[in-house]
């Protein structure tokens, strides 16, 4: 009898604190599967953000540093420069990355830091109860846009990989989604490419993952998948925004 599926080594065998229907659990597993397949668990350093995924150290069985809100790319820079042979990645949500941490992200990319950002876009601040994020869609209702996001007052959603794509230091930028099996498989391949680009010394890589947040979207998990498909994918088109020569 052959083994067709086994426990993901890098993932801790524990209960997740995430809400039902949230994408974090899926993405955690994808990241860990890729690390296992690359046989990098013992050379990996993950940087946890502030937000729902602040408890990464409880779920990943490798070295973890928890960073201040938005600062993970700077912390990752400090780690990678000291440990250039290690796989160093940050795992950040949209508020952490694209609002308070915008500067650290852009400049890590500009320097071409050999780090990878796993970016969870669920269009709101999940941990604090569903406030508007930089990625909140036009007219989307959140606890701080109760009448829907009015772009005249609260601005427009930010497309992160597009924003970074002009920087030569960024070598691999993609947007994937974790809402169905087909896209989950694509997401895993993209994470693998991003990590490989880092280990090949090519430069900065980022994978944005469209994610569901049923609790704060006030939906059930099935409705949230539908909402993601019908609303998010138009503003956040999937695909490889940038993949320089040598990325494989």
């Amino acid at each position: 009898m052959s083994t067709v599926l086994k426990k993901t080594r890098s993932l801790e065998d524990t209960k997740l604190h995430y809400c039902p229907g949230c994408s974090h659990g899926i993405v955690h597993r994808l990241v860990c599967e890729v690390i296992d397949e690359m046989e990098m668990r013992e050379q990996t350093v993950g940087i946890a953000p502030v937000g729902c995924s602040v408890f990464l150290d409880a779920y990943f069985d490798f070295d973890i540093i928890q960073a201040a809100h938005g600062r993970a790319p700077a912390v990752a820079t400090g780690v990678k420069r000291a440990l250039p042979e290690n796989l160093v990645f940050t795992y950040q949500g949209d508020g952490d990355l694209a609002s308070i941490g915008m500067s650290e992200m852009v400049h890590a990319a500009a320097r071409g830091e050999r780090i990878t950002i796993i970016f969870i876009n669920n269009t709101n601040y999940g941990m604090t109860g569903g406030q508007m994020a930089p990625t909140t869609l036009e007219q989307q209702v959140t606890t701080t846009t109760p009448a829907g996001r009015d772009t005249r007052l609260a601005g427009f959603p930010i497309q992160v990989p597009e924003l970074l794509s002009s920087l030569p230091g960024a070598v691999y930028l993609s947007r994937v989604s974790a809402h169905n099996p087909k896209n989950i498989n694509k997401a895993k391949k993209s994470i693998r490419k991003a990590f490989q680009a880092q280990m090949d010394g090519l430069g900065f890589s980022l994978v944005e993952i469209l994610s569901t947040c049923p609790t704060n979207w006030r939906m059930n998990p099935v409705q949230s998948i539908q909402w993601l498909e019908e609303n998010m994918m138009e503003i956040y088109p999937l695909g490889e925004l940038k993949s320089v020569e040598g990325v494989s």
Binding site: D61, F62, I65, Q66, A68, A74, G78, A82
Partner: protein
């Protein structure tokens, strides 16, 4: 041992490299720009890393990351930049990571000016960022001490797993003096980096290591806070330092740190020439504050605290004497120096002359 003429800011860089610091992250701000410039040329020669960070905030978080790997790392700035670093410093203190932070103080508050000052005493010694923590604070008063204290700061930071601050000012940073450099061939306890089994290096051959400052359960965080407190208590017991000058028969004492102490020393000598029994206490560790040297001063009738601010260290001097001796203040701010003759006049007034 070699002797070289060196600028204070350069001596910080030289001291750090001599202490086997191989990572420096900084952002330009006057009057400490020579530190970053020195590191940009000297770090690569030593096989180290220099990054001009996009902000003070990024620089201190790079320090956090590198410190977590166990390597020796430093950042430097001046008042406004140190304020920006305070979030990161709180995290580093909470995570019990060692590093060295240099503040070459300038005039404040706000943008203030680029002239020398000692107005960040409270910020350095009382925590500075959010939460309940302390930092080791060393106050040099010469370029030689800048070099020596920088080396010692790395040793102390590693010994106690705590950030250490070198608190200088624009005068010290900009002035040139002869410095005796450490002999790199000699076994040097300040250059020796201890084993760091807690470091983040990848979990090869061991359980995973975690650097985390989120302790969500109240009992867990309380336990951590008391553990930090115990460590600070231990540092206070072991590491208080002060320099005493002509204090044995003194009836008046001047208390001053850094460049103010150097100027005050001249005033003490002038007063001694006039027959006034006056001495100088110069705290070297501003935290832990050397309160022990302010005890049992039975012959002392008054203490004059001299600072380049409107009165900050004076609060620690008053706490130390516990109301037993009157403590007065003389200060200059805005980038102005306390003049030795003005301090001399204050001493004379206190001596009833």
């Amino acid at each position: 041992m070699s002797r070289v003429l060196m600028k204070g800011n350069d001596a910080i860089g030289a001291g750090a490299i001599a202490a086997n610091c191989r990572y420096y992250y900084g952002y330009p701000i006057t009057p400490q720009n020579e530190i970053g410039e020195y590191m940009s040329s000297e770090m690569p020669k030593a096989g180290g890393v220099f990054i001009q960070a996009e902000s003070e905030v990024a620089a201190i978080n790079m320090v956090y990351g590198t410190s977590a790997t166990g390597a020796r790392v430093m950042t430097s700035s001046s008042g406004p930049g140190i304020s920006l670093k305070m979030e990161g410093i709180s995290y580093i203190a909470a995570a019990e990571l060692p590093c060295v932070i240099v503040n070459i103080m300038r005039g404040g508050p706000g943008l203030g000016n680029i002239a020398p000052s000692q107005s960040d005493y409270f910020q350095a010694t009382k925590g500075g960022g959010h939460g309940d923590y302390r930092l080791i604070v060393l106050a040099p008063s010469s370029v030689q001490e800048i070099y020596d204290f920088t080396r010692q700061a790395f040793y102390l930071a590693d010994k106690y797993r705590i950030p250490a601050i070198i608190l200088g000012d624009g005068f010290l940073g900009q002035m040139m003096e002869v410095v005796e450099l450490a002999d790199s061939a000699k076994d040097d306890e300040y250059a020796r980096i201890p084993e760091k089994p807690w470091a983040i290096t990848g979990c090869k051959g061991r359980e995973k290591n975690i650097v985390n400052t989120l302790l969500i359960e109240p009992d867990t965080l309380e336990k951590h806070n008391w553990k930090l407190k115990d460590k600070y208590q231990q540092i206070a017991e072991n590491e208080k330092r002060a320099d005493l000058y002509r204090v044995d028969d003194a009836e008046i004492l001047v208390a001053a740190f850094g460049i103010s102490a150097r100027i005050s020393k001249e005033a003490v000598d002038m007063a001694r020439d006039e027959g006034i029994k006056v001495g100088l206490i110069r705290p070297i560790t501003l935290w832990p504050f050397p309160d022990h040297v302010f005890k049992n001063l039975d012959s002392v009738k008054g203490i004059l605290t001299v600072e380049m601010n409107t009165g900050q260290m004076i609060e620690d001097v008053r706490l130390s004497v516990e109301g037993k001796i009157p403590v007065e203040f003389y200060g200059r701010t805005g980038g102005n120096l306390p003049d030795s003759t003005a301090i001399f006049e204050e001493i004379k007034r206190m001596g009833g002359m």
